[in-house]
């Protein structure tokens, strides 16, 4: 098994997905099965191969420095849980809210 329960806990924390303590063993087993299967790549010699990140053979397009977007706080906040709006009558913007963070 390539993955232990502590590793499951660590990556679950990194991914911000709660995995209950009594579920870690099963998850470790499940993920290990997949990881063991992908390990077959190790048998390939890739020492002289460049990694491929994209199959597109064009140069990254660049846009002009113009303000063409934004200015619609109401739409940005429309789907949010518990937003706080500055005004109830006009779109003066507003805030998303999250549980209080202590820095």
């Amino acid at each position: 098994m390539s993955l232990d329960q502590a590793t499951v806990a660590r990556i679950a924390q990194l991914a911000r997905i709660r995995v209950a303590a009594d579920d870690r063993a099963r998850m470790a087993q499940e993920l290990s099965t997949i990881l063991d299967w992908v390990e077959q790549l190790k048998s390939l010699d890739t020492s002289s191969v460049e990694p491929m990140t994209s199959t597109v053979e064009v140069v990254l397009p660049q846009r002009a420095d113009e303000v063409t977007d934004g200015g619609y706080a109401e739409k940005v906040l429309l789907n949010a849980t518990d937003p706080v709006r500055v005004s109830t009558t006009e779109d003066l913007g507003g805030f998303f809210t999250v549980p209080k963070v202590v820095e």
């Binding site: 420095d65 113009e66 977007d69 934004g70 706080a73 940005v76 507003g94 805030f95 963070v101 202590v102």
Partner: protein, 484 residues
């Protein structure tokens, strides 16, 4: 700077990471406005708020700004660079990752020449400059149970400029930031305003015994928003580390916050999780490939930067390196000086007036050169009056005071107040004769050998002419008359 500890001498080692907000109209990867302020979340596009299916498209002007800055710090502009995702969760990071550049930045290997007191210089290496997105803003004081999130800053273009650990004192750190800010402002790539957060600095600080070649464990100090605080934070942190080490402790690598109110650094509570940013190339963006011709064009359009200007000022205007350094620290100062000094026989006079009188007056008023009540043309007019003997240097200072208060031009003030210098020898002769007649005893003392009285006679003559007599002429004639 060397710290004297109980066990010996310690050296401070500092590397600085500066986040400079790129001057641009729109954000790095979206068309939303990048200007400061605005209603909360009003300068946010669906891209900035990371809505499903939204994609980044890079702002070409921001790329140019980064190239310009790279050339300004004499660095290599890389023809191919790559955008990576730096993955972490935070409330003001909507994508759950920051688009940044990790292994292949747009600029690498530059340097900054620091101007130290006394005219000395020190060169500090710049490891790299890369482009990345700013995060939004979290506000923690609005509600007892919630933090508020404003994404107006989210996606604004930043240049992260990382120095080599070449800095050895708080003063050098200050000089580094001043020089970097000057270059950014000369280039117009960042406004350098630390208070508004458009230039932010993290300091990596460690200490080691003098003579050691290995670096000590460093701490990163975040949240420092002025050059003065950076210097204080470094000094505090280095001293703290020496104390810990000398008490037999060890330095744990951590991120610390500068607490402005208390003047101390303290560990950050919210960063307790081990970081693992899982960088990988952003599959929504292709590698950034720059046209060498575009780089060459930008190079051709570069303005004269502080170091080159300083050299030129020393050569062209015969200034001391120190004076030249003071003048070139801000482009507006340098431009002001050049307007005043243009075509003048004695440019050093112009430098003195700008540095001593003008900067002194501006300091007192708390304004910058841009808002100077005395325009460069008006100061030049004043110096013209000195150089053509219309007024004396002393009178000029009075005139200058009036100019500072009223913003008027020198010639009008001199005319209005009748301050024109008396160079007519007849008038001076008469004044001298009068003074000598009224002070016969003193004349006798002088003639008996008490030559130190000469200054007193000059003063009396100047007084009787209301300070308007040409001092050189007064000296000349008085000397002859007293000699009998």
């Amino acid at each position: 700077m060397i710290l004297e500890g109980k066990t010996g001498k310690w050296e401070i080692v500092v590397g600085l990471e500066v986040h400079a907000q790129v001057v641009s109209k729109a954000k790095l990867f979206s068309g939303a406005s990048a200007t400061y302020g605005g209603n909360p979340n009003a300068q946010v596009s669906f891209v900035d708020a990371a809505f499903p299916g939204m994609l980044p498209v890079i702002n070409g002007f921001v790329v140019e700004q980064a190239i310009k800055t790279g050339l300004g710090i004499e660095a290599t502009v890389n023809e191919v660079s790559v955008f990576d995702r730096k993955n972490y969760f935070y409330a003001d990071l909507p994508q759950g990752y920051q688009i940044s550049q990790y292994t292949r930045p747009i600029v690498s290997g530059g340097k900054l020449v620091l101007d130290m007191p006394g005219g000395a210089t020190k060169t500090v290496g710049v490891t790299r400059l890369h482009l990345e997105q700013d995060a939004g803003k979290s506000m923690h004081d609005q509600s007892p149970s919630k933090s508020y999130i404003d994404l107006n800053r989210s996606g604004v273009a930043l240049m992260e400029i990382v120095s080599e650990p070449d800095i050895r004192s708080p003063e050098e750190a200050g000089a580094y930031l001043k020089k970097l800010r000057a270059i950014l402002r000369y280039l117009g790539t960042c406004d350098g305003n630390m208070e508004e957060g458009s230039m932010r600095c993290d300091a990596n600080v460690s200490v080691r015994k003098v003579g050691d070649t290995k670096f000590g464990t460093r701490n990163e100090i975040k949240n420092v928003n002025s050059i003065r605080f950076v210097m204080q934070a470094i000094e505090y942190e280095a001293t703290r580390q020496v104390e810990v080490l000398e008490d037999g402790g060890t330095i744990v690598q951590e991120t610390r916050l500068w607490d402005t109110a208390r003047g101390v650094t303290r560990p950050m509570r919210s960063k307790e999780h081990a970081h693992d940013y899982r960088y990988f190339p952003d599959p929504d963006l292709l590698p950034l490939v720059l046209d060498p011709k575009a780089i060459a064009r930008i190079k051709g359009e570069m303005p004269e930067l502080p170091d080159a200007k300083k050299v030129r000022f020393v050569e062209q205007y015969k200034l001391t390196p120190y004076d030249a350094g003071v003048l070139v620290a801000e482009q507006e100062q340098a431009d002001f000086f050049e307007t005043v000094a243009k075509g003048r026989k004695d440019p050093k006079l112009a430098a003195n007036w700008v540095i001593v009188e003008l900067f002194g007056a501006l300091n007192k008023k708390g304004v910058g050169v841009a808002n100077s009540p005395v325009s460069a043309a008006n100061l030049a007019g004043l110096l013209d009056l000195i150089e053509n003997d219309t007024i004396s240097g002393r009178i000029a200072k009075d005139v200058f005071q009036i100019m500072v208060e009223t913003g008027g031009d020198a010639a009008s003030i001199v005319k209005e107040k009748g301050l024109t210098q008396v160079t007519d020898t007849g008038a001076i002769d008469a004044a001298i004769a009068k003074v000598m007649a009224e002070n016969e005893a003193k004349v006798a003392e002088y003639r008996a050998g008490k030559v130190t009285l000469f200054g007193w006679f000059v003063g009396q003559v100047m007084k009787s002419t209301g300070g308007k007599a040409n001092p050189a002429k007064v000296n000349e004639i008085l000397k002859a008359k007293l000699a009998g």
